[in-house]
């Protein structure tokens, strides 16, 4: 299988964005900013002036809009990688159930129920 055919095959999984080279190119600035949130001083700087912080990291307009909207699907669409986006969600104290509920359009309780039911 060629590299291109391989990448296309990977895209076929429903509801799943493979973080491949194309996503990596698109999302670099956004992911770099979110990586910086490992450090408390950067989380504080972001809280104090979100716009300045996003500009400092060179986010695109699409990425800035997705950050302002706190919209995880839009952040993924803008090239965000979930491992780094989790650090962004962490600033607001969001759990992976909160993030999952937002992406699937469920309430957090319904999302937790759905997780539990899969064990039955």
């Amino acid at each position: 299988m060629s590299a291109q055919a391989h990448a296309q095959a990977l895209e076929e999984i429903p509801g799943t964005t493979m973080f491949d080279g194309a996503q990596a190119m698109k999302g670099y600035a956004l992911n770099k900013m979110c990586f910086s949130f490992n450090k408390a001083e950067n989380r504080d700087k972001f809280r104090r002036d979100e716009e300045a912080f996003m500009t400092q990291y060179g986010l695109t307009e699409q990425q800035k809009a997705a950050i302002r909207a706190r919209n995880v699907l839009a952040l993924i669409e803008a090239g965000g990688n979930i491992y780094y986006l989790a650090k962004f969600a962490g600033i607001f104290g969001l759990s992976v159930q909160d993030v999952g509920a937002q992406q699937t359009g469920m309430s957090v309780e319904a999302f937790k129920d759905m997780l539990k039911k899969q064990g039955e």
Binding site: H6, A9, L10, E12, I13, P14, G15, T16, T17, M18, F19, D20, G21, A24, Y28, N31, K32, C34, F35, F37, N38, K39, A40, R43, V72, L73, I76, N81, I82, Y83, Y84, L85, A86, K87, A89, G90, I91, S95, V96, Q97, V99, G100, Q103, T104, F111, M114, L115, K116, Q118, G119
Partner: protein
């Protein structure tokens, strides 16, 4: 010669670190998960291994996308847990064993795996949560550690078969170390889960149970699964199963399942724990 006495697996869900800090061992949500560990800890207390070689994946603490090595081997005197941004309590430092690390690095490269050696390596929950579950407080119950990181962040990630073969190379390297050390090998992460996208929350009990069954006696069947099929069946982050395959590859003696536990859900994840004995 150093001797691999067994293989362990554990999920490494961050929420476990927080629950451990709060000692929620008897809490109804957590009990079915934490109950999977005392039999393993009892075995470890009896066997007294000297070294834990831990296959894990970094989640954006030590490595960023600027440089993303496929296989990295820790060669440090100690490994530090650091702030990951969203805060499980920092559980401090882990002692390394750089002499064995360099022996493994030499062996892996001679065997065709051109690894990245790391004399500084911050370890995140992927490493610390299983260490805490199996050994508790490192200041009271220390063990030498060698973290081995496999890329699961940036595609293309290594194939399941490549990880299984990598584990075999690591196993051969450990077995040729001129010492009397008892070594356990740990595969962390999994089982099925997906955090991102419209399929977030996906769990696949049937596939997980098949993996837990076959990993002991038919690992090559699992290693033959394609990356795409693994992600379809186990979820985007369920791809961490490649870490279990690396662990299993390193066990080259007669293997026997001594204990297992499986529970849905912990956080967004199906949690799997295994203890496999390995005898020459």
């Amino acid at each position: 010669m150093a001797n691999i006495i067994g293989g362990l697996t554990s999920s490494h869900i961050p929420a476990v670190g927080a629950a451990y800090a709060k000692q929620l061992f008897e809490d109804p949500y957590w009990k079915p998960f934490f109950d999977g560990y005392p039999p393993v800890r009892k075995w470890l207390a009896e066997q007294k291994p000297d070294v834990a070689v831990v296959f894990y994946n970094d989640h954006g603490l030590n490595f960023f996308l600027d440089k993303m090595p496929t296989f990295s081997i820790g060669a440090a005197f100690e490994y530090e847990n650091q702030d990951e941004g969203w805060g499980i309590p920092n559980i401090g430092k882990f002692e390394g064993y750089p002499e064995l690390s360099w022996h493994i690095i030499e062996g892996a490269v001679a065997d065709g795996f051109d690894v990245c050696s790391c004399q500084e390596m911050a370890v995140d929950h992927g490493f610390t949560v299983p260490m805490q579950l199996f050994w508790g407080d490192q200041t009271k119950n220390p063990i030498k550690t060698i973290p081995i990181c496999i890329n699961t962040v940036q595609h293309p990630i290594p194939t399941p078969m490549r990880c299984y073969r990598f584990g075999q190379a690591i196993g051969r390297a450990i077995a040729s170390f001129p010492g009397a050390e008892k070594v356990v090998v740990v595969g962390t992460g999994g089982l099925s889960h997906q955090l991102d996208g419209k399929r977030a929350g996906f769990i696949n009990k049937k596939f997980d149970l098949m993996c837990m069954e076959k990993i002991v006696d038919a690992p090559e069947e699992l290693a033959a699964i394609s990356t795409r099929d693994l992600i379809r069946e186990a979820g985007a982050q369920g791809a961490e199963f490649i870490l279990w395959l690396a662990m299993r590859g390193s066990l080259q003696g007669k293997v026997r399942r001594l204990h297992q536990n499986y529970h849905i859900p912990i956080s967004n994840t199906a949690a799997g724990t295994l203890l496999i004995e390995n005898r020459a």
